[in-house]
């Protein structure tokens, strides 16, 4: 169970894993995540599903090494197995034809963005995708999002690929240029915070997918709680997607450092 079928290094610390999980592959929708565990002493780690393949009965996960558990995950090779994979969890992305949607992905946030880009395009939207990262090596899944994007903008902090600048610079240009009906942003919390600030000024509905600390992922522990519109919400069952303009990003960023 949960065997690694394919592995690809996107960069030194970012790995794509194709994992055998037929039941999850069948029931998952864009926006859903899974909880994985490596080894009997392993942590339960939430990862958003990037893709699935019904014929192979597999799901695709993209993982960035940031700590003990993600290091264990990234060290898995083809033929190795996850001890546990459970899901799909969370609420699926609300997808409808709203007109023009700008999808912003930062770093490994592009992985969970991919199924949303696809779904938004298939729903008939004009889709502008902005991929952003520190440097060229960290831009991932470019070829996968391209076919579903009417326009693809690449932003790097150092200008090594695409245009030099932050994701917000690329987004602001689009917003000033044409009517944007919805923005989707997935990436580091700080990036989502600034995208949200920008679009709030333009009154563009914006959806973010939050990757908070979780234990069970099924609503049981409350570790993932965030303040949305002044109320406490659980990312695992009320999210992971929320109206960006209502999310208390500063509190979320603080809580992400709980165990640092």
């Amino acid at each position: 169970m949960y065997k690694i079928l394919d592995k690809e290094h996107f960069s030194e610390h970012v790995v794509k894993l194709v994992v055998e999980a037929p039941m999850i592959a069948r029931s998952r929708r864009p926006g859903h995540f899974v909880i994985v565990r490596v080894g009997e002493g392993g942590e339960r780690i939430p990862l958003t599903i990037a893709d699935s393949d019904l014929e192979r009965g597999s799901i695709t996960l993209v993982v960035q090494e940031v700590g003990v558990s993600t290091r264990k995950i990234c060290a898995l090779n083809v033929g190795d197995e996850f001890t546990d994979v459970v899901g799909p969890l969370g609420r699926a992305t609300h997808v409808e034809n709203v007109g023009t949607v700008v999808c912003c992905g930062g770093g490994v946030g592009v992985a969970p963005l991919l199924p949303i880009v696809k779904a938004m395009k298939q729903a008939g939207n004009r889709v502008v995708t902005i991929l952003a990262a520190r440097t060229a090596d960290l831009i991932i899944l470019r070829d996968q999002v391209a076919p579903f994007s009417d326009e693809l903008i690449i932003m790097t902090d150092d200008g090594s690929l695409g245009r030099k600048g932050l994701v917000t610079a690329g987004l602001e240009e689009v917003v000033k240029r044409e009517k944007v009906d919805q923005v989707v942003a997935i990436g580091p919390a700080v990036m989502m915070k600034f995208v949200s600030k920008l679009t709030e000024g333009y009154a563009i509905p914006t959806m973010v997918s939050l990757n908070t600390i979780m234990v069970d992922g099924t609503g049981m522990c409350g570790a993932c709680r965030v303040t949305v519109g002044g109320k406490t919400k659980f990312v695992c069952i009320d999210g992971p997607e929320f109206d960006a303009h209502k999310v208390d990003f500063d509190e979320m960023i603080m809580r992400l450092r709980s165990y640092n």
Partner: protein, 492 residues
């Protein structure tokens, strides 16, 4: 209340019981003092996770069983939520037939070794014991239940696996806590092919993730699970009914019925300022990290906040489990903050006593109103409102009211909020046509436990909101009986 429709295994009229009754006068029996269960010394037990209560010896158990007057109209039975034949099992202990004592228990309770440890006996069976009327300590029914169940486990030969019957009707269960386990056992014994789906990576639900090892060793739960496996029950981990597989999937896979026992997963918070500071967490999170994930132990990756000055908010068993766990995890100061007085605490008396022995402080009639953080967002103090008791509320307990202006600030670096749980919303949200109550509980017929969806039954905390292990088990039994008769009558 549930009636036992099975034949009593130990009828009161039996000659041996008559003989036991005549063998001693009531005066002689009532002169015997209630057994005292030996327990680990407090200063030792706060250094580890070993079970605190050591159980009764056979001699102690037989003597304690002798205290029971074998009343003609035993009130203890009416105090038990599942009406266990209490004198029937106790008198078997007295005559030394421990196996039969366990068999009597098993007629009504799927998990006697668990209930003997975690039931609030002082509020149930023992509260109705005739000794109470004599102003004496009740017969130690809980101790005796645990004794009989542990003896059974100690001497029992491994259960022979039942070969699977390919023609058996297939039944699915969502959740492997007390309700799910008891339902699965009942249905397996009736010849059904039962598959239990569990969302987590361990079987046992709250018995594993919630109740700590020092109160209920995992080995007890595991032994019960092995027994169910021998009966042919299949367990599938990491699978969430309503998410991984839908109700329709289960029907297509050939399951004829589903029992939902998904529990009361959702922790409640109080909605006061500072509750999302780092170091403030639900008891579910704290206990899951320590019990299920092994946080703090060698070889386990999951982190947990190790508070030196821990504040636990609440007065229930989960609060006691949390505060005692905090002591074991190294808290020098561990304080229960409860808004009513000790008399209104819902926790078992024994847990409160054990907590006190272990150095836990109690600040009753206090209620948190705000948590204060440092510049990094870590909780550093809590502001507590002094309370006093006013008029009784709908629960019958005197409701706490704030004493205006009387607020104290207490330093802390770990706050565990243990003020109750709500039903897990995953399944109620996922199944179309399922009637759900105002508080998110699944609506069922209180006799049959059948929901608004045909052949979908439910029980335990997903129906009750937050109750006890024994009530959850009773639901499982009742649902099994009702589902069985429905399936057999072909009324589908």
């Amino acid at each position: 209340m549930q009636q036992n429709n099975c034949q009593p295994l130990a009828p009161r009229e039996d000659a041996w019981r008559e003989e036991l009754r005549k063998s001693m006068t009531a005066k002689e029996r009532t002169a015997i003092l209630r057994a005292v269960m030996s327990q680990l010394p407090p200063d030792y037990r706060v250094t580890n996770n070993e079970e605190v209560n050591c159980g009764l010896s056979a001699e102690q158990a037989v003597l304690e069983a002798t205290r029971c007057l074998d009343c003609p109209d035993p009130q203890c039975v009416t105090g038990c939520p599942v009406n266990i034949d209490i004198p029937g099992f106790i008198k078997n202990i007295q005559r030394g037939d421990f196996a039969m004592a366990a068999a009597v228990l098993r007629q009504t309770s799927a998990l006697p070794a668990v209930c003997g440890r975690v039931c609030p006996q002082e509020k149930q069976c023992e509260s109705r014991c005739i000794y109470g009327k004599m102003k004496k300590q009740p017969v130690a029914i809980g101790y005796l239940e645990r004794f009989a169940a542990d003896e059974e486990m100690r001497v029992a030969a491994p259960v022979k696996p039942v070969p699977p019957d390919p023609d058996a009707v297939r039944i699915a269960v969502a959740g492997s806590g007390p309700a799910g386990l008891s339902f699965a056992g009942e249905m397996a014994r009736r010849g059904y092919a039962v598959t239990v789906y569990e969302a987590l990576h361990e079987i046992g639900g709250v018995l594993i993730y919630g109740i700590p090892e020092f109160r209920l060793p995992n080995s007890i739960v595991e032994a019960e699970i092995r027994k169910l496996e021998a009966l042919g029950v299949k367990f599938i981990k990491d699978c969430i009914v309503g998410k991984t597989i839908s109700y329709e999937d289960l029907r297509q896979m050939g399951f004829s019925g589903l029992f939902v026992a998904s529990g009361a997963g959702l922790p409640r918070f109080m909605g006061i300022p500072g509750e999302n500071l780092i170091g403030v967490m639900s008891s579910n999170e704290y206990l899951t990290r320590v019990n299920l994930m092994g946080a703090g132990r060698e070889g386990y990756d999951t982190p947990v906040t190790r508070g030196r000055k821990a504040i636990i908010v609440g007065g229930g068993n989960t609060a006691m489990d949390s505060v005692r766990t905090a002591r074991r995890m190294g808290a020098e100061k561990a304080v229960i903050v409860y808004r009513r007085s000790e008399a209104e605490m819902p926790a078992r008396i024994e847990e409160v006593a054990h907590a006190k022995e272990e150095g836990v402080e109690f600040m009753t009639l206090h209620n948190p109103v705000e948590y204060l953080g440092d510049d990094k967002g870590h909780v550093r103090a809590v502001r507590l409102q002094r309370m006093e008791l006013g008029e009784p509320d709908e629960s019958g307990r005197r409701s706490p009211v704030p004493v205006p202006g009387d607020i104290v600030e207490v330093e802390t670096d770990l706050v565990i909020v243990s003020v109750g749980v709500s039903p897990n919303p995953l399944i109620p949200h996922a199944i179309e046509g399922l009637e759900v109550g105002r508080r998110g509980t699944i609506e069922v017929d209180s006799e049959t436990m059948e929901s608004s969806v045909p052949d979908l039954f439910a029980g335990g905390d997903i129906v009750r909101g937050g109750a006890t292990v024994i009530l959850a088990m009773g639901d499982g039994r009742r649902a099994a009986a009702a589902m069985d008769s429905k399936l057999k009558s072909g009324n589908r």
